[in-house]
Assembly symmetry: C2
Homo-oligomer: 622 residues x 2
């Protein structure tokens, strides 16, 4: 193995001192920030970035063959920013803007900082994102870049870490290197294992990783460990480093009570005096990457979908079919599934385009993290599982918005209409969850044709899209040349005398159509709107319906809070019209789908009864 | 070690045959259900329940010293129900109601079935619930009962499993026994490790468990393994069993494509013919538990909280203070925290009542699972972390509603008002998340006094409560003798000439009060309502405000979808009034709290501007 010359070690120490200097001063100027968590990892990251293993074109952060470095312990942001200042990636002066309103240098890294590979700060997510980056290198872009992830010891208790660890091993990601900064102290005291680095190494090794245990302040050991990691060809590598929290400042070293705290001016002076021999002009040089770029496939148009009106097809099946159909129209499209591809019907894609399908097993958190990583490298990841089980990854979905991930989540088995499997399998909070993400789009088509077209819309859309599919077959109601869009809707029944407007999505569109027919025979014309784009809603269509009829009834196979009904109320908040929300308002159970819709109060019968009550009320009031 | 007599083994085989018979017939009658996943574990569970290790009073499922058995692989419900039929816990006839509307025997177990210790069916949650049950036995009720958890091999890929595994080891829960049913086949094909039971055992052992590898169809090995597990005194025990999916029916054994499928009538006949020598009258006898019951502490009244109006106290601090204050009023109250107790201020309780505080480390999924387990044994668990990080446990929170868990979730660090730490740490979707749970209560007090009183209300309330606290100090605005309740609100500014009503909660109450004063000076009286109970809302107070003023402005430190604003719209849906929702409608960043509230459009200034615009609009329209 190559050994590092003493002069190089001395240079690295000099860089580490300057980096520590920046960590102290930036946090003191900001008045807050995680200084001690930065100091423990300063030597590790200096050795990585400037010790020869890490390869990155500082002038071109987007170079596709740059090595990737993620701070999963995002609170060590003072260290991240200081490293890039010393590397020339940002101007040193900018460090003084740390944590200020408008600064790119946020308390925890977001993608506003160009050298952050993804937003971190919710612990336990960086490694899974790293798996995505490494998987991209190995299996998609076929590039030699490596991915490095700095991990905190506290965050190793997150289950998502072990999901990432198992998957990296399963996919033989030897191009992935984790570094656990075992500084013993968590936010409120000692971690579960303190300084027992073997406890970490033993567990990680049992999952099939190559593990190395080092002193995280011995620069020669650090540099050698990264060289050894670079040479590994079969397994992912974890460097478990014993470190000292607050390292370099005597009164902070291995001391409790300093987590997340900055030094005041006086303390800062004492600290800086301890960091003797600072050379403010020393600069770190990062090795250049090979100038290799991925082959770019040329998009090929896909055939149009074709369905016969009146035939019965599950929208989940249309999802799988659409994905396979448009695979060559979107060469960057990839698909991940959490071991339920024969339920979500992602297996149609998996069979036809196996090289772009990745089995993620039952580990939804990591699935979303990997998708975020793939998205950061320009892929368009479609991830699918039951709508209910996306709740497992809500924190990852929440964080994906701060990474600006181009994530497509496809949730099947919506609502009580799944029937006998019972409430644990029913997606009844999923619309609320995905709507709550500020920048999300939420789609819920009711038939196979609109599903096919909206999958295509989702693939072309830049940003987070949730598309909700259904387990059961539903009739095709749209003609093959109909078009659908984000923010669109379809008025599918309409007369000039409509008394009320029924606004539905998914299953309940078909219930509304049945109710329409019953009401029509009873001489009560109603409008029926398919609000397939729940977010954003087609506000104009709703306003027209509100103006033309005496009120709106929304119907959804979802719990009442945060779903279609409240979405409609919100859209019409400034020009209010009476809205009646029909949603699943009793705890559901196993049973036949139709029975359950009736029990829940969202069946055609329930709609008819509601309309009759409202019309009756009208009559009584008029 | 004790060995089992051959006659006993023969009896167990006879029981297992009858149980398999029931599994086949119940799923065939139902037309669906997970037959093959039940057959693989039939011998394991027969050996456990009737082999002498398991102790349970069938006539008294609620006996506090019963051993506990959780099917984490809840889809094996045909086996669970068949076991209890053979044990005399339910009438055999009831099996024919499996999966029917109204039956207690749901597709996946819920608490409607009295022998289900908790609802399962979302994989990877049973072990954490088991940790809660075992922790209760060991550390709270001090009872000798054991907890058994049947795990599927597929679900071992869920990170939550490893959170539970690490915590059980940390707390030395030798009274917890897991059984991994390694039947090789997941829903859509082979699992990550197939029949490599050593891969599981190696990983689990590395986390400090006592592991046993057995043939899951060798009844003597099974019985012996459970005896060995019972004898363990230091470590939790995992029995890793090699099994055959579909065991006992030749054409189902180890065959793909049968997951979640029932046999049709003809197939069922063939299958039953293979299960020769069924004795329909054989009955399993479960050993009786020791009739030991926990000591019951007598509640002692707590002193009332006391704050001075105008002093500044963070509501998170009032949470910790309240919990410590009422600890002896609610002897069943316990507190769990995810390694942030010095931020959530649960550490005030931890210091004063250490025997009822449990550090859960950074593993929010397991924290909620453990709390569900504790709740099932009569405890009142308060679990706390940052509001943002409860998203990590949304699936567990979702499932907790089907267990009917008496769960109290306390989320700190609400909204952009946390300031410099940035978006990853800001709870901005938490109200939407908790509101979406059908049976939840959502509280968001604005000052220390109301927080103290609402913590007490939450402790006394039977069911799921979310209480949202704030990082920053806020002024105390309520007198010590004010009362607060689920579904309540406070009208804190009111005149007979109010033009508009401001409805706020938490931070924004104080912004609304500032806006009120500015507007009052400008001659525009407005009503101010503290909607501290966001779910259920005080509908009457809102209706009165709607009737008395020209419209409502809601203000919340939360994203727009699913929060306070939509909650108010929903409450007033049938008698609409113009509502303007002020919420965080731009992606936030690090910065000063006041700057961020202004940027987000939820500051006093933003409220004043909005009211002026609305009043101006009024004038223009009138």
């Amino acid at each position: 193995m190559q050994r590092t010359a003493p002069s190089d070690i001395a240079h690295l120490h000099s860089l580490a001192r300057l980096i520590r200097y920046h960590c102290v001063t930036t946090t003191t100027v900001a008045g807050s920030g995680h200084l001690t968590s930065s100091l423990s990892a300063a030597d590790l990251m200096t050795g990585l970035m400037f010790g020869g293993s890490f390869r990155f074109d500082v002038a071109d952060p987007d170079h596709p063959n740059n090595d990737r470095l993620i701070f999963s312990k995002g609170h060590a942001s003072p260290l991240l920013y200081s490293l890039w200042a010393v590397a020339g990636g940002i101007d040193e002066q900018e460090l003084s803007s740390y944590r200020r309103f408008g600064s790119r240098l946020e308390g925890h890294p977001t993608r506003r900082f160009p050298h952050a590979e993804a937003a971190t700060g919710s612990l336990g997510q960086g490694l899974g994102i790293g798996v995505g980056l490494a998987l991209n290198a190995r299996r998609l872009d076929q590039l030699p870049y490596s991915t490095y992830v700095l991990l905190g010891d506290s965050e190793m208790s997150e289950g998502s870490q072990w999901e990432a660890i198992q998957l990296a091993s399963h996919y033989h990601l030897a191009n992935l290197v984790g570094i656990v900064d075992v500084n013993r102290l968590g936010q409120r005291g000692e971690t579960m294992f303190g300084h027992d680095i073997e406890a970490y190494a033993r567990r990680i090794a049992s999952f099939g990783w190559h593990t190395l245990m080092i002193d995280g302040h011995d620069m020669a050991q650090i540099v050698d460990a990264f060289l050894e990691a670079s040479a590994e060809r079969a397994r992912p590598v974890m460097i478990v480093a014993r470190t000292v929290k607050g390292k370099g400042i005597s009164f902070l070293e291995n001391a409790g009570g300093w987590h997340g705290k900055a030094l005041d001016e006086d303390q800062s002076k004492v600290a800086l005096a301890e960091l003797s021999d600072i050379d403010p002009n020393v600069r770190g040089v990062i090795a250049a990457p090979e100038n290799t770029r991925p082959a770019r496939a040329i998009p090929r148009p896909s055939r149009a979908p074709h369905y016969e009106i009146g035939t019965s097809v599950a929208t989940r099946k249309a999802y799988g079919a659409a994905l396979a159909r448009i695979a060559w129209q979107f060469p960057q499209l990839v698909c991940l599934d959490a071991e339920v591809s024969n339920s979500t019907m992602a297996d149609i894609f998996a069979e036809q385009v196996p090289e772009r399908f990745f089995e993620m097993f039952i580990a939804e958190q990591n699935m979303v993290e990997v998708a975020v990583g793939l998205s950061m490298r320009g892929k368009v990841p479609f991830v699918s599982t039951f709508a209910a089980f996306f709740t497992r990854a809500f924190d990852q979905i929440r964080m994906a918005q701060y990474s600006g991930a181009n994530l497509k989540c496809i949730g099947s088995h919506a609502g009580v209409s799944i029937g006998e499997d019972g409430p644990s399998q029913m997606g009844l909070e999923d619309i609320a969850m995905f709507r709550s993400i500020l920048t999300s789009v939420v789609l819920h088509p009711c038939d196979a044709l609109s599903t096919e077209k909206l999958v295509e819309v989702a693939a072309a859309y830049e940003g987070m899209v949730y598309l909700r599919t259904m387990r059961q077959d539903t009739p095709v109601i749209y003609d093959n040349d109909e078009t659908f869009q984000v923010g669109g809707s379809k008025v599918i029944r309409q007369t000039s005398d409509d008394r009320l407007s029924l606004v539905a999505a998914g299953t309940t569109v078909h219930e509304a159509l049945k109710a329409h027919d019953v009401l029509q025979r009873a001489g009560v014309p109603v409008r029926v709107i398919d609000a397939y784009s729940i977010k954003p809603l087609d506000v104009r269509a709703l306003q027209e319906a509100a103006a033309a009829t005496r009120g709106i009834v929304t119907i959804e196979d979802h719990y009442p809070a945060g779903g279609l009904g409240e979405s409609v109320l919100h859209a019409l908040a400034d020009r209010p019209v009476p809205v009646t929300i029909l949603a699943v308002s009793k705890p559901p159970m196993s049973g036949d789908a139709a029975q359950l819709r009736d029990f829940a109060g969202i069946s055609a019968d329930a709609i008819v009864r509601t309309v009759e009550r409202l019309i009756g009320g009208d009559r009584a009031n008029s």
